[in-house]
């Protein structure tokens, strides 16, 4: 079976900074995969390269077999990305935002699915509210909804729960787990290691643009009996 994501020897420099130093990684279809590392490790650069927002200097990235540069339209259709920054278009309300995002992906009448996403993310009451008037947590939910409007088989969540209250986190994770159960591949970056420990079947730890550990969550934890993923993370980063 073709991997959901295939990354081969990807290198990216920003000036003299080597953001990605030859990253290779395969993520199987249906996985709940964690991409962890300290700030500046290269997680967001790797995700941005996958999404086509960053052009790598060398190497290849594929989504379900489609090269993100040569075959970018097919690759982007299969990918949903929740960006890390809290960004929004201030001209539109929540429903308009989601309808527009659906249209960008070639879907015209998508209200049934939009309603379902709104309900699952507890946004139904805010559907007609302008984006400017939403709280930070609500805006974050809309970002998640925007990434899901086209039902992408591969979903990338770049720190989706940063600055979000406990209730939303629980609602979000239950929704994302359901999507994963339905076959969607989930790639998660987060600084909340307990969330990664609870959700991810496999984890890659990144440091200075490289993958320094890659294994199932159980195997990583087994190396430090009695410890948490946070212990694994701290010790791996010190090595």
């Amino acid at each position: 079976m073709v991997p959901a994501v295939s990354i081969v020897d990807v290198v990216k420099h920003f000036g003299v900074l080597k953001a990605l130093a030859g990253v290779s990684l395969d993520i199987a279809q249906g996985e709940f995969f964690g991409l962890l590392g300290p700030n500046g490790a290269g997680k967001t650069t790797l995700i941005s390269s996958l999404a086509g927002l960053v052009r790598p200097d060398s190497g290849t990235l594929k989504v379900l077999g489609h090269d993100v540069i040569r075959d970018f339209r097919a690759a982007r259709r299969l990918l949903g990305v929740v960006p890390q920054e809290l960004v929004f278009d201030p001209f539109f309300n929540v429903r308009e935002t989601l309808r527009i995002q659906s249209g960008y992906f070639g879907i015209r009448k998508n209200d049934d699915w939009i309603d379902e996403i709104l309900a699952n993310l507890d946004l139904t009451a805010k559907a007609d509210v302008n984006m400017r008037r939403l709280s930070g947590g609500m805006k974050r939910r809309v970002l998640v909804a925007q990434a899901l409007v086209h039902k992408p088989p591969v979903i990338v969540l770049d720190e989706p729960t940063a600055g979000v209250d406990v209730e939303l986190r629980q609602g979000l994770w239950s929704f994302v787990r359901r999507l994963n159960g339905e076959g969607h591949t989930i790639i998660l970056t987060t600084h909340y290691l307990e969330e990664a420990e609870a959700l991810c079947g496999r984890i890659a730890l990144m440091k200075q643009g490289r993958i320094v550990a890659l294994d199932t969550t159980a195997n990583l934890m087994a190396a430090f009996p009695g410890g948490t993923l946070a212990d694994v993370f701290v010790r791996t980063m010190r090595q």
Binding site: F14, S48, A51, G52, L53, V54, R55, F72, R73, A74, A75, R76, R77, L79, V81, P83, E85, V87, F88, D89, P90, F91, F92, E96, I100, Q101, S102, G103, Y104, F105, G106, I107, R108, Q146
Partner: protein
């Protein structure tokens, strides 16, 4: 195609939601120009045998078409870049051509809307004829599209609002103000007449005005050829920048 139509619709909606500012304000500005210059010069100046106020109206219409087409694409892109919401159009599978066409056509729509508004507001103050309507249509469409594309380049290039303002204040504004909106270039000294021929906006204004009065400084066919060449060059450059992801994709 749905991606293109959605982006086009979103760009239309974006300026329409603030139409008071994006359409109403430029119409008022043009009306003020007409009232002031017309009041001062109408009894004293005739150009190509036409009273000054009548001569001025087509120039003002075209100037606003161009400036607002430019403002639409440039402000939309810089705003999206600065707020980060540009990712919403960079992540989906929208082709470069569709991206270009949606921004340019929406800019053209705003330019034409303002142009019609200026015409409707100013036509009461001047005796205006329409001798060759096809020239009016051709120059307004091509000129608006050219400035929409130019606005895209400015929006993509700029990283801050003041960079965009520089582009607007030091390039677009002089090109439009010194293009013959307020005068015929035949009233200029020979040297400045020569310089005016290097300004592509001059051909747009002159050709557009020909559609109203049937007289112009340059043959409308020549003007059309110049504007078409400029539009092709600017469009190709914009498409190339989009394909490269210049200043949009790191």
């Amino acid at each position: 195609m749905i991606g293109f139509w959605t982006l086009f619709y979103k760009e239309l909606l974006r300026f329409w939601k603030v139409a008071f500012q994006t359409v109403g304000a430029p119409v008022l500005t043009a009306l003020l120009y007409l009232l002031i210059f017309g009041h001062v010069l109408d009894d004293h100046v005739q150009v190509h045998g036409v009273r000054y106020t009548a001569f001025l109206v087509p120039g003002l219409v075209m100037m606003q078409v161009l400036q607002n087409a430019f403002a639409n694409s440039s402000s939309s892109l810089i705003q999206a870049k600065i707020t980060g919401s540009i990712v919403f159009v960079l992540l989906p599978p929208i082709s470069y051509g569709a991206f270009f066409a949606a921004y340019v056509l929406a800019s053209l729509a705003r330019g034409l809307m303002v142009g019609v508004g200026v015409l409707a507001a100013t036509v009461w103050f001047a005796e205006l004829e329409v001798v060759a309507p096809l020239w009016i249509v051709a120059f307004s469409l091509l000129g608006g599209a050219l400035f929409g594309a130019l606005g895209m380049i400015a929006g993509i290039w700029s990283e801050k609002f003041d960079q965009l303002a520089s582009f607007q204040n030091f390039l677009i504004m002089p090109l439009t103000m010194l293009s013959g909106v307020f005068y015929s270039i035949h009233s200029l000294p020979e040297f400045w007449q020569g310089v005016s021929h290097y300004n592509p906006v001059f051909y747009m204004i002159d050709g557009f005005r020909y559609g109203f009065f049937g007289v112009s400084d340059v043959a409308p066919e020549t003007s059309l050829a110049v504007v078409l060449a400029c539009f092709t060059a600017v469009s190709l450059l914009t498409l190339r920048l989009l394909k490269q992801g210049w200043k949009l994709r790191a």
